[in-house]
């Protein structure tokens, strides 16, 4: 044993392999191939096309897996549908028992799962063992809890139905847990498709489902590629689609299922900023970079991949980073002392390599860890770019590999400008010892998850999900549960009576019946940026009231009016920054001022819609109450503090979307307008409202009330005209962050398709009729919840 003498000299680490014997044995017993898991049973591979699963660390074939075709998806969806009836009716406690058993079983077999995940994905065993699998167990425990409490904590909600879930390859089992745990807890059944590159832990998970006696059909797993995924998402009997993956595919799915009335949540890409201020713990921040971009081979949607350093400390920080890279170990992911394993596939290696080459061509300087990569397998040396600008490809595109970009900023304002200079908005890391600065940045970065002096912290109890093109919907925590629940009132809405299309006429009508000849003519205009403005088109249309009489004219708004309105709304950002109390006061005042004009509005309602005086009076009264309700909620619908890790405050803040488009229905034109606009502005949004095209005068009269009530200009903008034409422009506008639409079925579909451009959040009525007068359908927390997005801010503390 002369070797020990030599090791004493070099003090090398030496190999520390994790045994793969048990996993190999398991794979061997399934050498013929793995089938799908449908209705509680594994299908064989006979008669199926199969694909090979490869260990990216050594290019060895691990298994053959069946490729799901339409009939497999049909069978899986059918099984899930059949199981749903019983599963959704189980008491929460019964479902909790199953989820608890899943958590326990995963814990009991944690090493098996860890080794299998590492072999399938290429990520180091340290991460699967210490991060992935413990988080999976935690997720099922946490949601066993939600199952237990679902009836009491989510009164008035019920499960959505059968969920189609498509997950990525970067955290295969963890993403499965994020999808399946909340779905099952809420009473749904699922058809899940793992990524074709990493299907194996999902198969082992299916065996656990079998082992714990989960009722057949509650969880179904179908394998395959994007085509199989599309079959699941597009299947007629799927009620909800949940997808995690690239923004590109997310957009395809949005378009594919537009108008299908399927619920959708998307967790997409990111290019998250990692901001280091001059007063940061620099060594701590360097370790932060290690955990941000050199974690999971950089194949992390929320990776801090854009390092922004305050200019004065940049040289020192880069030096520290370069020095730190020297001790990174890259190699066999089953070695317990590796920091970085293999990228998921040869294809991914090619993609990362090409992007990094592009970065060099663009003039970036690449600093890479001085490592020797194994001869076989999909390895890439970790590193970072300097000398890159926002115009460089590598600063804009998600590399999804272990390479960050690093550039500098001078001031907090510039840091924010650079941080938000992206189409994404998933996460951000902020490093500063100054709590004022850190929280200020946290509030101003447009991202769903903010880590102060930390990075990539995840917990089942905190919501995870993005702003902008990083998707919508949250996973984890109370906010994540809503993705798998439907409000009861929204479930049973009747279709709107087939409406005769209303086409505003731009030309004068010589035959029109005139309601009020001889009075002083009134001119309803658009209301943009706090000012009345003539429609850009120079056209108006006649508004037909009771008995077919013309009661006035309204502007025929067009694309440019919408453009101007959005611009005005974008400029009115200070509304969201005002105190909630301040907004409440303004809204109360709005109510006060409206109340003084009761007679006028009631008369207009009667003239415009032909309702009785009594009905007009009721509509007015309810509208007024609703204004008061949202004034009251302005400073009360607040966030939460999640219990995550010890010595961490995890703040779930409700933030306004920003600029919202709101397209109002014809029915109850005052009340529906108020019911939609008020929650949005109460939460701090600025809106572009398209009022009822048939009865626009209620809204145009309303702007006079806005004018006298200190509502900041640009907070409510009103553009009258043809509903779906204006809705389409709004839905397509990239500066609009969310859109609510209450109109026809076709219009709803159109809005969902048009929203694909920037993947704005949509809330559409699918052409269904709401009872605006009832409080259960026309008012409440559901409106508020949809008027905000949740930002989770992780604040570790301790001196």
């Amino acid at each position: 044993m002369g070797q020990i003498k030599d090791i004493l000299r070099t003090m090398d680490y030496g190999p520390a392999p994790e045994s793969d014997t048990d996993v190999r044995n398991w794979l061997e017993t399934h050498a013929t191939g793995f089938g799908h898991f449908i209705n509680g049973k594994f299908t064989g591979v006979g008669g199926h096309k199969t694909f090979a699963v490869i260990n990216p660390a050594n290019d060895a074939v691990l298994a053959k897996v069946a490729h799901g075709a339409a009939e497999d998806v049909d069978a899986a969806v059918k099984a899930a549908r059949n199981a749903f009836a019983k599963w959704s009716k189980l008491p929460g406690h019964e479902r909790a028992k199953y989820l608890y058993a899943i958590a326990r079983h995963i814990q009991k077999r944690e090493r098996f799962f860890a080794v299998l995940e590492t072999m399938d994905n290429g990520k180091p065993i340290r991460e699967t063992r210490d991060i992935d699998i413990p988080l999976v167990a935690r997720h099922f425990y946490h949601h066993a809890g939600w199952a237990e409490m679902i009836e009491t904590e989510f009164e008035g909600f019920s499960p959505v139905g059968v969920c189609g879930q498509v997950i990525p390859w970067n955290f295969p089992l963890l993403m499965l847990a994020w999808k399946i745990a909340p779905a099952l807890a809420a009473g749904n059944t699922v058809v899940l498709k793992p990524a074709e590159l990493t299907p194996l832990t999902a198969i082992a998970f299916a065996e656990v489902c079998h082992e714990i006696g989960l009722p057949a059909g509650v969880v179904n797993i179908v394998h395959g590629d994007g085509a199989t995924g599309a079959l699941i998402c597009g299947h007629d009997d799927i009620d909800k689609v949940a997808f995690t993956g690239s923004t590109e595919v997310g957009r395809i799915i949005r378009e594919q299922i537009a108008g299908s009335e399927k619920k959708l949540s998307l967790e997409l890409g990111g290019k998250s900023p990692f901001i280091v201020f001059e007063d940061a713990d620099m060594d701590g921040a360097v370790e932060g970079v290690v955990d941000a971009i050199w974690f999971n081979q950089g194949e992390v949607c929320c990776a801090g991949s854009r390092i922004l350093v305050q200019e004065g400390i940049a040289p020192r920080f880069y030096n520290k980073l370069r020095k730190r890279m020297e001790t990174l170990r890259v190699g066999d992911p089953l070695d317990k002392a590796m920091d970085i394993g293999a990228l998921v596939s040869a294809g991914q290696l090619k993609r990362v390599t090409a992007l990094v080459e592009q970065g060099k061509i663009d003039g970036g300087k690449l600093w890479q860890a001085p490592v020797r990569l194994p001869a076989k397998g999909s390895y890439f040396a970790p590193g970072f770019f300097t000398d890159v600008e926002p115009t460089s490809t590598v600063c804009e595109v998600e590399i999804f590999g272990p390479v960050a970009t690093a550039s500098t900023f001078r001031t907090p304002d510039e840091a924010i400008a650079l941080a938000n200079n992206t189409k994404y908005g998933l996460a951000a890391s902020i490093w500063s010892e100054n709590i004022n600065l850190a929280l200020d940045m946290a509030a101003r970065v447009k991202a769903g998850v903010i880590w102060i002096n930390s990075t990539n912290l995840l917990d089942a109890g905190a919501g995870f999900g993005g702003y902008r093109e990083s998707g919508f919907g949250r996973e984890g925590g109370r906010e994540g549960l809503y993705e798998y629940l439907t409000a009861d009132w929204e479930k049973r809405l009747p279709l709107v009576k087939a409406e005769t299309a209303f086409k505003p006429a731009a030309a004068p009508d010589g035959d029109a019946k005139i309601a009020a000849a001889g009075t002083i003519d009134r001119t309803a205009k658009n209301y943009i940026g706090g000012k009345q403005s003539r429609p850009d088109s120079g056209y108006s249309y006649s508004v037909i009231g009771k008995g077919g009489q013309v009661i006035g004219q309204a502007g025929l708004g067009n694309r440019k009016d919408i453009r101007n309105a959005v611009e005005a709304a974008a400029k009115a950002g200070s509304w969201g920054g005002a105190t909630a109390h301040n907004r409440a006061q303004v809204l109360y005042y709005l109510g006060e001022n409206l109340s003084t004009r009761q007679a006028e509005f009631e008369a207009l309602l009667a003239t415009s819609t032909g309702v009785s005086a009594r009905a007009a009076s009721e509509e007015f009264a309810v509208s007024l109450r609703r204004i008061f309700y949202y004034a009251a909620q302005a400073d009360k619908y607040d966030g939460a503090v999640h219990s995550t890790k010890s010595r961490h405050v995890t703040l779930a803040m409700n933030e306004p979307w920003g600029v919202m488009g709101i397209v109002c229905p014809d029915e109850l034109p005052l009340l529906s307008f108020v019911s939609l606009v008020l929650p949005a502005i109460a939460m701090g949004n600025r809106v572009i409202a398209v009022p009822s095209a048939r009865h626009p005068l209620l809204a145009t009269n309303f702007y006079q009330v806005l004018d006298t009530s200190d509502v900041l200009g640009g907070v409510v903008n009103i553009v009258t005209g043809e509903r779906d034409v204006l809705a389409k422009t709004l839905a397509e506008h990239d500066e609009v962050d969310a859109i609510w639409y209450a109109g026809s079925k076709e219009g709803s579909t159109m809005v969902e398709i048009a929203s694909c451009g920037n993947l704005k959040a949509t809330w559409i009525n699918n052409g269904r009729q709401r009872d605006w007068l009832s409080n259960s359908q026309g008012l409440g927390k559901d409106f508020l919840r949809r008027a905000v997005q949740v930002k989770n801010i992780w604040v570790p503390y301790g001196e």
Binding site: I4, I7, L8, Y13, A280, D283, D291, E433
Partner: protein, 334 residues
């Protein structure tokens, strides 16, 4: 240069390649440490994952454990220490591992010894005598150990006494008050005087980090001690409520690295107290290798202040050699 260089494991060329001049210190430079930012949570995360990111197995583990032995300051610092007790400890210091085990490890001729023996001042003459000819230095605590609240002249006299009795290393304690009241000139002045009193003997400055409470204080005290000329900075006396921890050690190493960058000088590190197992030894070796590299895995720049750790290491080594789990009764008592 320390005499240990001749006796540590046979890595002679590396020893020479990384041999360094003694730290001369600098004048007090508060600008090097006053604005330091230390984030506790980030530090703890790094410390917690350091030892899960690295491990050593089989022959590597055996080698690393032997390395740890050569870095141990085998310590007895108890009120009931006697010449007899010290002699027994010194005997163990000279033969820390059973011959048959060393033979099996291929290290029979490597003269495996501990880094030093550490005792109270009045025990120094007994230790010096017992270790005569072994090349193992005697380290003495001094300056009113462990609290350090004795008048300065007496504390300096204690150093002179220990050096006079043959101590080659002096482990001094700092006045915690100076850190807690941020009185850096007083702290710098005191340590500089102690360093001067130590003369040729190497001086380790014990910061008693458990008393300093915050990581910022630990960083600042480390920096002042190095600026005052400490050859080593050391975590604890072993008598505080909290002794050596990985997060505290990490911050001291970062201070040490920064000091090296700023002054061009080299300082050693000694965690002490609370480390009892072979696993602890490996954890700290991993910390040293990751944060500072190979030179700081040698006894001239790294010591482990421990007493019971050696016994556990011996058992692990025996297990490596025989494949059977060992009993402590089969290893000579320290």
């Amino acid at each position: 240069m320390n005499t240990q260089h001749a006796v540590v494991s046979n890595g002679t060329e590396i020893q020479l390649a990384h041999s360094h001049a003694r730290n001369t210190g600098t004048k007090l430079k508060p600008e090097w440490f006053e604005d330091i930012a230390v984030n506790r949570s980030a530090t703890e995360r790094r410390a917690a994952t350091l030892t899960t990111r690295r491990t050593v197995k089989k022959e590597y583990q055996a080698a690393w454990l032997v390395k740890a032995i050569t870095c141990i300051d085998l310590t007895t610092l108890a009120g009931d220490d006697t010449p007899g007790r010290v002699r027994r400890l010194c005997a163990k210091a000279k033969r820390p591992v059973r011959d048959d085990i060393l033979e099996a490890l291929g290290l029979a001729d490597e003269n495996i010894r501990v880094g030093a023996v550490c005792v109270y001042p009045t025990m120094v003459p007994h230790a010096v005598k017992a270790l005569h000819g072994s090349g193992i230095p005697v380290a003495s605590v001094a300056t009113g150990f462990p609290a350090g609240l004795t008048p300065l002249p007496q504390r300096l006299a204690e150093i002179h006494y220990a050096v006079g009795e043959g101590a080659a290393e002096i482990d001094i304690v700092i006045t915690r008050e100076h850190v807690l009241t941020q009185n850096w000139p007083a702290l710098h002045d005191e340590i500089a005087q102690m360093r001067e009193a130590s003369g040729e003997a190497h001086m380790k400055a014990i910061l008693a980090t458990g008393d300093l409470n915050t990581l910022r204080n630990v960083y600042r005290a480390s920096m002042v001690a190095m600026q005052a000329g400490a050859d080593f900075i050391k975590t604890s006396t072993g008598k505080e409520e909290v002794n050596a921890t990985l997060p505290v050690s990490l911050i001291m190493l970062r201070a040490l690295r920064d000091y090296g960058e700023l002054s061009g000088q080299t300082v050693g590190f000694k965690p002490a107290g609370g480390m009892k197992t072979a696993k602890d030894a490996l954890n700290w070796l991993i910390l040293m290798k990751e944060e500072l590299g190979l030179p700081w895995l040698q006894p001239d720049l790294f010591r482990l202040g421990a007493s019971s750790m050696l016994g556990d290491i011996e058992r692990q080594l025996e297990h490596y050699v025989t494949g059977r789990y060992a009993a402590s009764s089969r290893h000579a008592l320290a």
